[in-house]
């Protein structure tokens, strides 16, 4: 442990000529919940996707648990990592997507078991026990044999969380996990995430749920236009925003 689960140093990312991240700095300590807020197009999802190298950054460095993401530094030179090594890094970083992205051709249980069995090659019986345990923990013990298409959005997202946890990640990334849900289903997913935070999981959460950020977050980051505009303890940032853009954004969502 380096005392820093995630460290981003001056991260830049462009899509073609459009620069979406213009120098992001961030530190997330182990066990911390970091919530990322910001208007759409502010680059917060892109930044999250850079942390597990779903997007390649153009400049800067990202470290997860002290390890440089996607590259290796040798003799002062950066070497791109091969597909296998990137995959290895991703094993310990769980990700939950806005649109769940469960595998629709597999049952709920198989969705959760797939990666531990295929990627880590753990024994099936052991994985099955763990998977059932995780599904019970997210309140879906009775749905193991169902297909994702038969579940509500909230249930699907909870399966997606269980699927990510099955790999025993040290860091969980949430990309607007409740944005695609009907309002009455948001609560169940947030409750699952609160449990997770209470268990000491390190989490980076891109969200629009101010209430969740205030209650669960240890640190809040407000992004706009590809830069971190303001950050600090959620209560302070939300109740007493220092920056004009933060104030304008919060006045619209609160």
């Amino acid at each position: 442990m380096t005392g820093e689960m995630v460290r981003a140093d001056n991260v830049h990312k462009s899509f073609g000529s459009l620069e979406v991240l213009k120098g992001i700095d961030l530190v997330v300590k182990p066990g911390e919940v970091c919530c990322v807020l910001g208007p759409s197009g502010s680059g917060k999802s892109t930044f999250l996707r850079c942390i597990n190298h779903l997007e390649k950054i153009n400049a800067g460095r990202i470290f997860v648990d002290g390890e440089l993401v996607g590259y290796r530094e040798r003799g002062g030179k950066l070497h791109e990592m091969g597909e296998k090594d990137v995959a290895k890094q991703r094993r310990s970083i769980g990700m939950v997507f806005q649109r769940f992205n469960l595998f629709p051709h597999m049952t709920v249980l198989d969705n959760v078991m797939e990666a531990p069995c295929r990627v880590k090659r753990e024994s099936k019986a052991e994985v099955r026990d763990r998977a059932v345990g995780l599904l019970e923990r997210v309140g879906l013990g009775s749905k193991v044999g169902n297909y994702p298409g038969q579940l509500s959005g909230g249930q699907q997202q909870r399966v997606a969380i269980a699927r990510a946890l099955a790999m025993r990640p040290k860091l969980m990334l949430f990309d607007e996990p409740t944005s695609a849900l009907d309002p009455e289903l948001v609560g169940e997913v947030l409750d699952t995430m609160k449990d997770l935070a209470a268990d000491g999981m390190t989490m980076v959460v891109v969200t629009h749920e101010i209430g969740f950020a205030r209650e669960v977050g240890d640190n809040l980051i407000f992004m706009d236009g590809g830069v971190v505009v303001e950050q600090g303890p959620p209560r302070d940032v939300i109740t007493n925003p220092q920056h004009e853009r933060t104030r304008a954004f919060l006045s619209k969502v609160l």
């Binding site: 997507f97 797939e114 990627v119 298409g149 990510a164």
Partner: protein, 332 residues
């Protein structure tokens, strides 16, 4: 739920209305009935069909032409040609589709050229080309590429750099030539079908799999292809059915181990034409019907967990549970 409102108000009586008349349907029915009767009459009374020639006895002491030994042998050949050329076609098609979608520009342009060529050449021409390909070489074998030229470079006159070779006319002729022509042409069509299937899958699927640490191969095998199958299977069924029929083209290679070739041989011997064609028609009908039934079951298998029916069934079950099992409608 407030049940009082439903008990207070009486249910109005069910609507009984005079249905809209459809005179057009009756006219159509009459016309079709007359045409069908004419067709049946033709089949049953026109003795030039020579049904007994087809089904019972085409020569003294022999079975009907559909069931004679050479024709049955040809039928086996047709089935084997279909299976082998489709197997090669599907396997090669998947490879070419993956090449086509590869980030490697060279691989994807090779795949593009392949599909361009084989889709642009008629199968009959291709079959004839393969049937005559052995004119190009005396022998075909494994060895150094440009072996003879390299030999000359070093002053060796009889060096060919071949480790193993066989006569070209033994390797590429008849059945193998026909099969290769059909398989290579099929691979081009299958490649397009597989590519469409892979591209139809939401990119979020691959992303979620990659985020779990799966390799590109695993993502393809475990996540993308199984889902793409739902899109790939129906057109592939069509391709197999088309292949059954296209095997008749290789009769002109010539491939003798083939249904249409054997039947035309009967025609040539007996000077009976139409009944032989009808016999062929019936065999192709039977083969394709079996395949269409198989296709139905395969499609059903690959659509599990998907589609309006699965969703509708689940929704109805949920509603039934919510309402204490009051709804008893049939699910389509």
């Amino acid at each position: 739920m407030s049940d009082d409102t439903t008990t207070e108000r009486a249910r109005p009586e069910a609507i009984k209305a005079v249905p809209v008349r459809h005179p057009g349907r009756w006219i159509a029915l009459a016309v079709i009935a007359v045409l069908a009767a004419m067709f049946l009459h033709l089949l049953l009374t026109n003795d030039r069909f020579r049904w007994s020639f087809i089904f019972l006895e085409y020569q003294e002491g022999k079975r009907g032409v559909m069931f004679t030994e050479p024709v049955l042998e040809g039928l086996r050949g047709t089935i084997m040609l279909t299976i082998s050329s489709m197997a090669i076609g599907i396997a090669l098609g998947i490879v070419i589709a993956i090449m086509r979608l590869s980030p490697n520009k060279i691989l994807s342009s090779v795949a593009f050229l392949y599909t361009w060529f084989f889709r642009a050449v008629p199968r009959l021409v291709l079959a004839l080309l393969f049937g005559n390909l052995n004119i190009l070489w005396e022998r075909i074998g494994f060895g150094l590429p440009f072996g003879t030229q390299i030999g000359k470079l070093f002053g060796l006159d009889n060096f060919d750099g071949q480790f193993y070779s066989i006569k070209a006319s033994d390797l590429i002729a008849g059945f193998v030539a026909g099969m290769l022509a059909l398989a290579l042409s099929e691979a081009a069509y299958m490649a397009e079908i597989v590519r469409a299937g892979i591209q139809s899958i939401d990119t979020g699927q691959a992303e979620a799999a990659v985020a779990l640490g799966m390799s590109r191969g695993q993502v393809l095998r475990r996540i993308v292809l199984p889902q793409a199958m739902r899109v790939i299977v129906p057109p592939t069924g069509n391709e197999i059915i088309a292949m059954v029929k296209d095997t008749s083209l290789v009769a002109y290679v010539p491939v003798t181990f083939e249904l249409w070739f054997q039947l035309t041989q009967v025609s040539a011997r007996t000077f009976v034409v139409l009944p032989v064609i009808v016999a062929a028609l019936i065999w192709y009908l039977i083969l394709c019907t079996v395949l269409m039934i198989a296709q139905y079951f395969v499609e059903r298998h690959f659509s599990k967990g998907y589609g309006a029916t699965a969703k509708a069934k689940q929704r109805l079950r949920d509603i039934q549970v919510e309402q204490g099992g009051r709804i008893t409608g049939e699910v389509p």
